[in-house]
Symmetry: C2
Subunit: 353 residues, 2 copies
C-alpha cells in the first residue's frame, strides 16, 4: 500500500487520521462518517453504520479537526471572554465557571484582559472578532462603551455578567441589593448609625447599583442618608480604596463602612490602620463579593457574597442557549446574594457616636 495507509500504525502517531481514513476503515462514505459522528444527526443514520463508524474512529484515535469543520460550518466553537483584570480575585472563579460550562458544550473560551480600558477593550474586541468567535461573554463593567454596544448589535450573541449596558443584552446579574440590605441591617443591629459607603467610580454600573442599594437599605432601616458619607474611589482597587477611605476618615466620624467591593475593603483596612483606628473595635467594615481570600484577611472580612462561579456558569449556559435557540432564549438570570458575617464587623464604638 502506498502513502499514508501503508505505514498506518506508525503514521497514526505522526499524522492524525482524517475523516476519510475513518470512512475507509468503516467501509462508508466520508459524508456518512461525518453524520454518524455528529450527535445531532445520530437519528438519521442506521445503528449498524453508526456503530461501525464509531468503532473505526475509536480504533484510529480519530478526533475531528476543528479547523476543517469551522471552515465548512461557519462556526468556530470559540467564545470570546472579556475580563477586566484577573488580578482582582473576584474574576478567577467567574472565569472558571465560564470555562467549565463552555467546555461541557464543546466550546472554548478565549480570554482577553481589558484593564477596564475602553480603548484596549475595543482593540481586543477586534482581535476576538478576527478569530471568528461564535459569541461573547463580557464581564467588564463600564456603563457606556461604544465598542461593546456595537458588539451587542452584531450578529453573534453577547452575554453580560454583572453589568448593565445602555443597549439591552442577555445578562447574568447578582442581586446585590438584597445582600447590601442584609449588611446594613446587620450593622444597624450592632448599633451603627453612621454607615459610610466607600464605592468605586460612577462609570461602572455596579457603582450606581450598589450605591442605590445602600441608600435604599438605609431608608429601610430608618437611618438617615448623609451625602457626605459616600466617597468614591477612583478604581476598584485596594490602593484607590485606601485613598478614598483616608479622605473619608479625615472629614467624618463613622463607625462603619460599606465598601464597594472587597478590594476597596482591603484599602479601608489600610486606611483605618494608618489613622490609628482598629477594625472592628473602632470601625466595622463590610465588603462585597466574598472573593477567595476574604476569609483569610485579618480581620476576616464580613462581606456580601456574590456567587462568582455560578455567575460564570450561568453566563456560559445562557450563551449556549442563545447559540442554539437564537433570540428565543432567556434574557436575564438573577442570582441571590447573602451576607457572610466574619470578623470585620462588631458593636458600634461608643466614643465615635
Amino acid at each position: 500500500m502506498p502513502g499514508r495507509g501503508g505505514a498506518l500504525s506508525y503514521a497514526a502517531c505522526v499524522e492524525r487520521p482524517t475523516l476519510k481514513d475513518v470512512a475507509k476503515a468503516a467501509g462508508v462514505h466520508p459524508g456518512t462518517a461525518s453524520r454518524a459522528l455528529n450527535p445531532l444527526l445520530r437519528g438519521r443514520i442506521s445503528a449498524a453504520t453508526t456503530a461501525r463508524v464509531e468503532t473505526a474512529a475509536r480504533d484510529l484515535g480519530y478526533v475531528v479537526d476543528p479547523v476543517g469543520r469551522s471552515l465548512r460550518s461557519r462556526r468556530s466553537g470559540i467564545v470570546g471572554v472579556l475580563v477586566p483584570d484577573l488580578t482582582n480575585p473576584f474574576y478567577p472563579p467567574v472565569l472558571r465557571g465560564i470555562e467549565d460550562e463552555l467546555r461541557a458544550h464543546g466550546l472554548e473560551g478565549l480570554i482577553a484582559t481589558t484593564d477596564n480600558d475602553v480603548r484596549r477593550e475595543a482593540e481586543l474586541i477586534e482581535v476576538l472578532k478576527a478569530r471568528r468567535c461564535d459569541g461573547y461573554v463580557l464581564t467588564t463593567a463600564v456603563r457606556r462603551d461604544p465598542a461593546v454596544e456595537a458588539l451587542i448589535g452584531g450578529p453573534e450573541p453577547v452575554v453580560l455578567v454583572n453589568r448593565l449596558a445602555r443597549v439591552e443584552a442577555p445578562s447574568v446579574v447578582s442581586d446585590d441589593a438584597f445582600g447590601i440590605a442584609q449588611a446594613v441591617r446587620h450593622l444597624r443591629e450592632l448599633g451603627h448609625a453612621a454607615i459610610a459607603h466607600v464605592t468605586g467610580p460612577p462609570r461602572f454600573s455596579v457603582t450606581v447599583e450598589r450605591e442605590a442599594a445602600y441608600r435604599a437599605a438605609l431608608r429601610a432601616e430608618g437611618l438617615p442618608h448623609r451625602r457626605e458619607l459616600v466617597v468614591r474611589a477612583t478604581d476598584y482597587t485596594a490602593a484607590a480604596g485606601e485613598v478614598a477611605c483616608a479622605r473619608l476618615l479625615a472629614e467624618q466620624r463613622v463607625t462603619a463602612v460599606l465598601a464597594g467591593n472587597d478590594m476597596i475593603a482591603i484599602g479601608c483596612y489600610a486606611a483605618l490602620e494608618a489613622a490609628g483606628l482598629r477594625c472592628p473595635d473602632d470601625v466595622s467594615v463590610v465588603g462585597v463579593n466574598d472573593m477567595p481570600l476574604a476569609g483569610w484577611l485579618r480581620p476576616p472580612l464580613t462581606t456580601v457574597a456574590v456567587p462568582q462561579h455560578e455567575l460564570g456558569t450561568q453566563a456560559a449556559r445562557l450563551l449556549v442557549a442563545h447559540l442554539r435557540d437564537g433570540a428565543a432564549a432567556v434574557r436575564r438570570v438573577d442570582l441571590p446574594t447573602r451576607l457572610v458575617v466574619r470578623g470585620s464587623t462588631g458593636p458600634a464604638a461608643r466614643d465615635h457616636h
Copy 2:
C-alpha cells in the same frame, strides 16, 4: 452589478470581505493578494502591486480568516496554556505576561485550568491538542506526569514555566535560591536561629527546589539544619499552610518561618494567631512569590519576589522562538528574584530562644 458586489457598502457590514474580494478590487489574482499581504513574502512582490492590494484591503476592511489560513497552512495561531489555579494570585500576572506577548505575535492563548490534578490535566491536554494548538505553555508544577512528558515528546514545542520535568524542555525559571538565601540572611541578621520551613507537597518541583535552597542557605549562614523544622503542607493553599504550620507550632519552638509560597504564608498568619502568637513580634514569616495582594496583608508580607509577569512574557517569547526556529532556539531562561522586606519580619523574640 450582481451578487455581493452590487450591495458592497451594505454587505461589507454583514458578510466579511474575502481575499477574493480584495484581489478583485486590486485587479490581481487571489494568490498575489495573499502574497502581498504576507509580510514574509513582501520582498517577492512589486511595490506597486503591494500598495494596490493593501489599499484595497484597507478600503474593504479585510481581515484574514484564521480558519481558512489554518486549514491550508497547518498552523492555528493558537497556543495552549495550562495553569493550575487562577485563584492563586500568583498566576494571573504570569498569564497576563503570556497573553500580551503572544498577542504581540498574532497568537492567542487558550487557557485551561488543571487544579493540579494530573487526570484533569491529561484530559485538558487532549482538548487542547484537538484544537490543533501550535505549541504549549505549561505553568503547572507536578514533577512526574506522563501526559506532560508525552506532550513534550510530541511535535509541537512546549515551554515550561517555573517547573522542571523529568523530560527536558525549554523552560523559564526564577532563581528562587538566590532570593531564599537573601531571606535566610535577613532573618539571621534579625537574630533568628530557629528558622522553620513550611513548604508544599514533594510532588511539585518547586517544593524540592525551594527546600534545597533553604537548606543551602542555612548552611551558608552557618545555621544548623534541623529536620524537624521542615513541615510539608498537603497543598500550596492557605488552608493547607495553616494546618501544617499549626502542627509545627505545636511541636517546635521557632522564631521564624520561611513559607513555601505566599498562600502558605497566609496560612501561617492564621496558625500563629490561633496559637496566640503575634507576627512579627513573636514569629517572623517570609513568603515566596510576592503575589499581588502580599503587600496588603496585615502585617504586610516580607517575601521573595518572583517576577511573575516577566515569567509569562519570557515563556511566550521562548515559545515564539521555538515556533520560528525549531530546536535551534534557546533552551532556558533564568530570571532573578529578590527579597522584599515588609512588615512580617522583625527581631527574634527573646523568650522563644
